[in-house]
Amino acid sequence: MKYEPVVRNDTSSAVAELRHVSKRFGDVEAARDLNLSVAPGEFLSFLGPSGCGKTTALRMLAGFETPSEGEVLIDGEVVNALEPFRRPVNMVFQSYALFPHLSVFDNVAYGLRQRRPRLSSSQISEKVERTLDVVRLVEFGKRRTWEMSGGQQQRVALARAIVNEPKLLLLDEPLAALDRKLRKTMQIELQDLQRQLGITFILVTHDQEEALSLSDRICVMRDGRIVQIGTPRELYDAPASRYVADFVGSSNFLEGSIESVAGGRAEFTDVSGHRFAGQAGPGVEQRVRGTLSLRPEQIRISREPLDGGHPVTVQNRIFLGEHTEYVVRHEKIGTFIVLASRRAEDREQPLDAGTRAYIAWNPDAALILRAD
């Protein structure tokens, strides 16, 4: 059975918006000057470590926290003072927060039963059954939630929220409690569900892989601020700062100073005195401290000397299946992580620890960023 997507006449306006939103808890500033606009049907993630303000941002959208400053808008209306039970949004809680005294069916029906004027019980059971079908739990309606596995509880929590056809679905680290394999499966289900329903999703997560694989856009947060908003590809290829480069994917970083900037390119000298060229990141200026960021998969490694290469000693080799990770050390510059694909590696004898080798990279792959 197909789930009807929410009909929206005006698709140009934002579903949710934060305008200069700040939140203070006593002396702690949990969110500072957040500005964000979420388009209908979008899958947006708040990404950051714990305490970065991402959950506070989500709770302000749900109505559990009131902003200290600024405006929260849902569907073009300021909702700062609107109680949670009057907001057209639903949330999937990190702990699921399923009602232990109710069956799966009654958990899912809970939101529908609060509606005034009342829905008839046949309307309610039809909607509940249809939603249980969407999350593949049709036969579980009579079960108690605490008898179910983590993945099943997760799907009940999802069903309980989407049955209400909210304008906005808020997900607070919904997959954090699941094991790795189940998490992968649920990520795919979540993405399918979002495309199928056309509901706007806002996900809070500290898992960069999850954010990268699910989101249309990611909002990277740090210390209560939004540090960069962009598509996963933009964040990966053009991080605005070392913090983003470090948090989204992994990277090799060299500390040093920026010598010159011209035409989107920059010259950089690291602390050992080696000069490197690279792409200039946003806000990069001459003669300030900077960081050179280099993704591990952008580095070539070879036993034979490479053009413009650097001599290194292999310190460690980790077999990762599809890839092999090398930890190599240059006497002056320091340690690099190199990720070689299996195909690239097969051409040579494996480089064991202690082997002399050479690494090189395309200058376009090196990104020169402002130091944080």
Partner: protein
Amino acid sequence: MRVYTIAVYVFLYAPIAIIALFSFNAGRHASDFQGFSAQWYGRALSNPFVMDALETSLIVAFITASLASILGTLAAVGLQGLRGPARAVFDALIYIAVMIPGIVIGIATLIALVTVFDVMNPWIESLWGDADGAPTLSMGKGSLIAAHTMFTMALVVIIVRARLGTLERSLGEASADLYATPLGTFRQVTLPLIAPAVLAGFLLSFTFSFDDFIIAFFVAGSETTLPIYIFSSIRRGVTPEINAIGTMVMLASLVLLIAAQLILRRGDRK
């Protein structure tokens, strides 16, 4: 060590066992066992004084338990929203209410009520106009229920609060997120989840009120509850009839207390 342990248990339970045993005594003296008989149970249950006292005790215990569970639950839910020093003060007051000896509560309630009645009665008389027909406030079931409710309410608050403490805060938030008003959340989520604790509080309050002698002795006025009846009968000598009543009261209390424990434990498992 084992001898010592056995001695403790014998010392604790032997008198109770003897009471139960002698309630089946065929003879009329409590200290001289002359064969088994259930006649004293029949006598006790057909004694109008015993039945009157039992009725008073049951009415007082039921109303006390009902009031204490309602007021105690509301107080516990209200206290849940309180933070900081105000919370600490209320917490302390509730624990003190449980720890104050019954005799102090009895005397204090007696003095307080007598003082209030002395002020109120002339005032009511003057309002009534006719001095003879005017209702007068006096000690009785009302004062007994008031004193028992005050004491047992604190018990209910402590039990319900313990249960509330185990509930996830996100359950209330989830309910609000699913469009339930605060009252709707209380009715549909909070109350069903704390129901076992409320019921256990009801049973404990009932048992306490039903068994209480000390507070009742001071504030019952002319009313006779079962414990007061037993006390006054004993002054005329212990008969197997008293033993039979004592055994029945003990069994009823034990059943209620065990039921309260089972309900609480079942509630915790969920």
